[in-house]
Subunit: 411 residues, 2 copies
């Protein structure tokens, strides 16, 4: 009873391509999922997000719980109707935001250190078996979130995919703490599923979350534990290490374990989405990714370009672009580049804090990532994944491989 | 050799409808001109502005002079290419901004009072026959703008319509000052035209500006003076009074004089664009209007609706809209309302400072004004202006009069 249909596999890696079916339609996988944190992909209308080639967006349980409130959104008929997006929506559990509030870490809390900026941004007051008590960053009021709360909120939002409430363990805690925290996350998983069985929307799919820090045995144990649960999907969360090689290794432990014990369950990688991470993550058998990167970079004047030596980024706020009359990226077919708008113009708009500048770069970056994922999907279907991955890593522009258009697999 | 072709007149008023021809195409008149102050209609792409039914936008000479600089824009091939708008552009002269800098007034300057916020926003250092010296609000550097400077900047921007540099006299100066200031504005007009004859782009039309404060003889004299100049268009500027009846009276002095001495010259009314002002202004024979109102209100959460008793405005930031699942305006066909987005959603977005909220209301408000002007144009062509004006003033929704679509008059 998996919602994922796998249509093609890359024989040289764990990569697979297919279709994830939800109550609001299908997601072509592997897929990137843009953030609609506060019920909108910042600056874009729903149709624009669709036109950029995205099937699903991610709403933020924590922020929407605080404002405008999940019950209010339920009154509007759920998050889809509230934000005017009729395609699939995944909601995170709120765990990551609760635990990282004030830019602090669980370790800060445990050790009694005030996280940097905690007073301004809210504060965790207690972490107990039942859940987490914290202060709202909006009005300072006392709030509680635990497994049942998170599932209740997500039920009110009525997303297509809900994530269970987990403790997001930071990098700098020891194995002992990570082990205990992971066990609690597993107990919370069971509570989430129990609540969802009794009260959750029948058409909402639940993803369990793998934790375990950077410890191989803990990761594998956690993966096997959550994969064996009745949750139809698996998300990989928590600290994934201090650098990219370690992150790929940690993710690989989970996906290898999943290949053994639950090969058909869909897999989401939480909060990861740099260009190289997407290329590599697809090879590790990840089906969906979410990340603030393309949209957040865009709002800060950074464009994605096919330049691996620059981490695929160019900071257009730099003075040297003042008179640059070239497009954001040469040959780019995105709506911002295609109409001839220049780096110099975009630089000016970002510098002048004009909304249009943020929007143009958001569009450009999401278009870049959309073409990248379409390439990776198309390459798996065409049996060309290693070649396409290598070319992308070497600086080939997404969308230039002559792969068949990434239409809906059911079309 | 007027650029305006008048195709229809309302027998009961001074209203006329036609087509204004520019180097970058035609403007159906009467027309509202949205502000693209800093080379963009805030938050919108050029195609969206066109799709909303607008033929022309207004760029701001003062702001673009300071940043990114008119010479830089010339390096990009002019303002059209810089901002990706291939239709007509009008640029103001910078006079209004120079004189109103720091929210002060000329009178403040003359009387030695520091305008409120002058330190923060820049400051006028001297006003002399040659022009105005001021501090840039961006970096505090000393800048100069006079008639020739303004025309030079507008030549670099290469707008289709340029406005001459004028002294924008405030409301609270006396008749004597206004008279002297208006005479200087007339001398500056001659200097602008002389510069433009020698150096200006041949395909750039120049509008002279009427001043004269709220004094009938001065207004009529100024109107006759500028109408007799070789400038092909006339703009009405300066202080228009302390309330709407006085404003309509002041504008009417000019348009009556223009009907006598230069009936074929196109007339622009500077900085006026409330809904009732547009309905009345068309009846006074104004061909084009510009105003920050629809876009600025939108960014602050205020929507235009067909409610004259509320000055055609509803402030969606009010708490009572939190759970309102109706559209921004009932029956509105704009892209924001038509997809079912609600007042409650828009209120939430504006409250959360989400770019999408500002954008949705900008679109809604510009769509409202576009339909309003299409109605007024269509009504003049159909011989139904008094009826349509009365219905609009009574609260009829723009776009509901069964008037023929406001297509380009040449089509």
């Amino acid at each position: 009873m998996t919602p994922l249909r796998i249509d093609a596999r890359d024989p040289a890696s764990q990569a697979r391509a297919g279709v994830l079916s939800t109550a609001h339609g299908e997601v072509r996988t592997p897929a990137f999922v843009p953030l609609a944190t506060k019920a909108t992909v910042k600056g874009l209308l729903p149709q624009e997000v669709k036109d950029l080639g995205y099937d699903m967006v991610l709403g933020n349980t924590f922020h929407l719980f605080l404002d405008p409130g999940d019950e209010r959104i339920a009154g509007f008929g759920g998050l889809h109707r509230f934000m005017g997006w009729d395609g699939p929506i995944v909601t995170d559990s709120g765990g990551f935001q609760v635990f990282s509030m004030g830019h602090g870490t669980v370790a800060d809390e445990i050790k009694g250190r005030a996280p940097q900026g905690a007073d301004r941004n809210g504060k965790v007051l207690s972490i107990e078996e039942d859940g987490v008590t914290f202060r709202s960053y909006l009005d300072g009021s006392r709030k509680f979130m635990g497994p049942e709360t998170s599932m209740q909120i997500q039920a009110n939002l009525h997303s297509d995919l809900a994530l269970v409430f987990d403790e997001c363990t930071p990098f700098n805690v020891d194995r002992e703490y990570t082990a205990r925290s992971t066990e609690r996350t597993h107990r919370w998983l069971e509570r989430c599923l129990t609540w969802h069985d009794a009260h959750g929307p029948e058409d909402q799919l639940v993803y369990a979350i793998v934790q375990g820090g950077v410890h191989e045995e803990l990761r594998v144990e956690s993966t096997e534990h959550v994969a064996a649960s009745r949750a139809p999907g698996v998300a990989i969360g928590g600290s994934l290490g201090e650098n990219k090689p370690q992150m790929y290794e940690v993710v690989g432990w989970s996906t290898a374990a999943l290949d053994r014990v639950a090969p058909g369950k869909p897999r989401h990688l939480l909060g990861i989405g740099d260009v190289d991470d997407l290329i590599t993550g697809v090879g590790l058998g990840i089906d969906t990714f979410d990340c603030a990167m393309p949209t957040r970079l865009g709002r800060h004047g950074v464009a994605l370009i096919a330049a691996p030596e620059k981490r695929w980024r160019v900071d257009l706020t730099a003075g040297r672009f003042k008179d640059d009359d070239g497009p954001i990226m040469d040959g780019c077919p995105c709506p911002a580049c295609a109409v001839g708008l220049t780096r110099g113009y975009v630089r000016y708009l970002v510098h002048a804090r004009e909304l249009t500048g943020m929007r143009l770069l958001t569009i450009h970056n999401l278009a870049f990532v959309s073409r990248l994922l379409a390439d990776l999907r198309g390459a798996i279907h065409a049996g060309r994944l290693p070649e396409v991955q290598a070319a992308l890593r070497a600086g080939a522009a997404p969308g230039t491989f002559g792969l068949p258009a990434a239409t809906r697999a059911t079309a």
